[in-house]
Point group: C3
Chain length 315, copies 3
């Protein structure tokens, strides 16, 4: 999340009563979680396992639960609970204010765009020209839709990330302050969900076509001209390059990359990133021709047993 | 379903013109299907295969299609069509009256709870404090939502059970009179369905977090602090204990139990109950490490064939 | 799609400025894509691979991108872009005009049918008697619902087909002009999608019962008394005969046939048509008992390895 203007670290630290190590005048321009940080960002870390990653990331301010040595050019904010304080900062800079009207006064709708009955457009939603937003679609705050986009009935754009901090007795919700950005010429089927980013953006690339009941998780970035069939489930923080085809009911766990032009056959489940321009099948998904060989091998086991029997009998 | 007061059996039997075997003054306090019966309940049975189960259950009145010996302390109602007559009783005591207003006059909403545009709240719905019910959520009659609950846009709470009596020429619908109860601190994603119980309650335990497109069937009871990822499908009459994690697209058939702390990896499909504190994978799901071994074994078949060839050649 | 009256070919050709080969007075009564054509129809073809199929189909007018010999009794319209011109004709005869009112003035609703709050009924929708259309259901233009039908909350009937012409730089959308027809006594769960036909009808047969989150693709024809559990995904142009049971999360690709009385177990994925009156399992789906044998064979591999070791040692 970009802040509305540039802040000095001392102004930010005072909000959460954190102690500063480094320059109190360090420039702060945004907040992000670790996968998306850039210079000017605050990132938080609350486990020694991830200290090094956070300290060496592009983030220039680290909200941390221990006094450690401050890398040159960076600054630390020390807090007894960085997760809680990160959420406080998110809520401070981006309070979750929901429009009580079906179409928020701050939503902007382009020329020749049809907003059908029952549609909800949250605050600061922007929709381009020549779009059709079919009945009962819900678009949460801050989402941005391009031109010539069709969203079929009942789809939900911009719901919160499924993202929690696990504690022994409960899950703490990470407050989502990211957006969904849908580029031009995208068509989204009925009853799809595209979750907002935790702190960055979930993006659907130009010309991508999505069938019904598809889930796209938070901060996932999808390329151009992809084709996703019904019931595809894509987790958060996935990168899918251009021209990728996912057939029905394919499942994609978080943090993977699918290369340009890959084709994943129906019901496959990924367990790792996939190279582009190949066809995959299975759960776990492997190259489709390898999977087909395996299916044949299994069917061949009875013949192997017969051969083994012959050898055992000394025939 | 609890009745609104205590009845005598003779009052109930007269509604459906059933003949009583046993005391006409037998106390009746509820109706339930066989998996959930307790003392005071009527249960129905219409197949000799299930007579013994119904007669020996905790139900104290049995609606049955044959004159059989009445167990001591119980009573029978004899009917030519117990299924039809059970439905008549359900409709008698719990007529399906739907609110024509988006928010029923009898719905109760707690303090600091946001009901967003397009939400439907049926008759006698109760929602606690500090909840957010996002746009276009539908909550059918009688459902009860705790405090600090978030339900994302488009989710449907309390639709009818998928439960029919199969006849050669049609399916007879079992009328659902149960409820959905969602405990405190639950978050439900967008476009989820939590079906009402047939005659008892579907329950989501405290602090459980559910991602988008998840289905929870009738009468299923889910523990505390569970985590279900997108597209998980849970059938009716399942018991899921506390701290269970189901990853994306997992499928759980009816009448199973998943023990405390179990983890089921993505796309797995259960075929039986699962012990707690273990990790499972596959369709059918087995312990994940066993499944991984099997995958390795299949990949090893070509090497076995080579060894077999050598033996056959007498090398 | 049937046209509103009978046309002469010369009237149609003038709309798209196509050159006629054959009789300009050829009778035209409809437009259809190749899987559903009948006499009087226009069909389009834009690839030499499919010329023969189109020319020998039941369609009596072929919209084609090359001058070829005209079969006797038929006529050709030659166009540099048959796909574009087919879409122009569809839009000409069936302009996509959406009702801005929640319930279109041209929608017809039968006796004793409940249309709940938040329901959208498009133009020319017809709903029979004794139905319940639960809150926030969306029924697009032209769909026809029979008597005694229940549609649970949030389901979407008649969204566009997921059907595009793939070009190197984009997908061209095929305009859907077909309908959805739901016969008597059908129950559809919450959050289901039944897509309209591209040019013909998607049909759900009498007495079929469908659980939540089910997808039925364009032009698919489903028989009577079928039972589909939650998250079943059925593609376009599938034929499912009577009394078929598909358990949860089953996937059915396009252009297949499932025979009468077939049962497909949970999470199975079809790769071909299935004979009736058998039970199937697996992804790819095979007869369930064969699949069970395969699972046993894989578990038996370690024993095979032991036997092989013994032989190798010469024991």
């Amino acid at each position: 999340m970009r802040l509305n203007r540039t802040y000095k670290l001392k102004d930010i630290a005072s909000i959460i009563h954190a102690r500063i190590i480094g320059s109190p005048d360090q420039v702060v321009t945004g907040l992000n979680e670790i996968h998306r940080v850039e210079a000017g960002d605050i990132v938080f870390v609350d486990h020694p396992k991830y200290y090094a990653k956070a300290l060496s990331s592009d983030a220039t301010t680290i909200l941390i639960d221990k006094e450690v040595e401050c890398p040159p050019g960076k600054a630390l904010m020390v807090s007894d609970n960085p997760f809680r304080d990160y959420n406080i900062l998110v809520s401070w800079f981006k309070p979750a204010v929901y429009s009580a009207k079906s179409v928020s006064d701050s939503a902007k709708v382009g020329l020749n765009t049809h907003i059908m009955p029952g549609v909800y457009l949250g605050n600061d939603v922007i929709i381009g020209d020549n779009c059709i937003i079919h009945p009962n679609v819900v678009i949460y705050n801050d989402c941005i839709i391009g031109d010539n986009v069709i969203i079929h009935a009942g789809s939900i754009i911009g719901a919160d990330a499924f993202y929690y901090q696990r504690k022994p007795d409960k899950f703490n919700k990470m407050i989502s302050c990211g957006r969904v950005i849908i580029k031009d010429d995208v068509e989204i089927g009925a009853l799809c969900t595209i979750d907002r980013g935790v702190s960055a953006d979930t993006i659907i690339g130009k010309g991508t076509k999505i069938d019904n009941h598809v889930q796209v998780g938070h901060d996932t970035v999808i390329g151009e001209r992809c084709l996703f069939a019904a019931h595809v489930g894509i987790s958060g923080m996935v990168i899918i390059e251009d021209d990728v085809t996912l057939w029905g009911q394919v499942g994609v766990p978080s943090n993977l990359l699918i290369g340009k032009g890959a084709i994943v056959l129906g019901q496959s489940g990924l367990t790792g990133s996939l190279e582009g321009r190949k066809t995959y099948f299975g759960s776990p998904a492997i190259e489709a021709r390898e999977k087909m060989k395996e299916l044949v091998l299994v069917k061949g086991i009875p013949a192997l047993i017969e051969r083994l029997k012959k050898l055992e009998k000394g025939v």
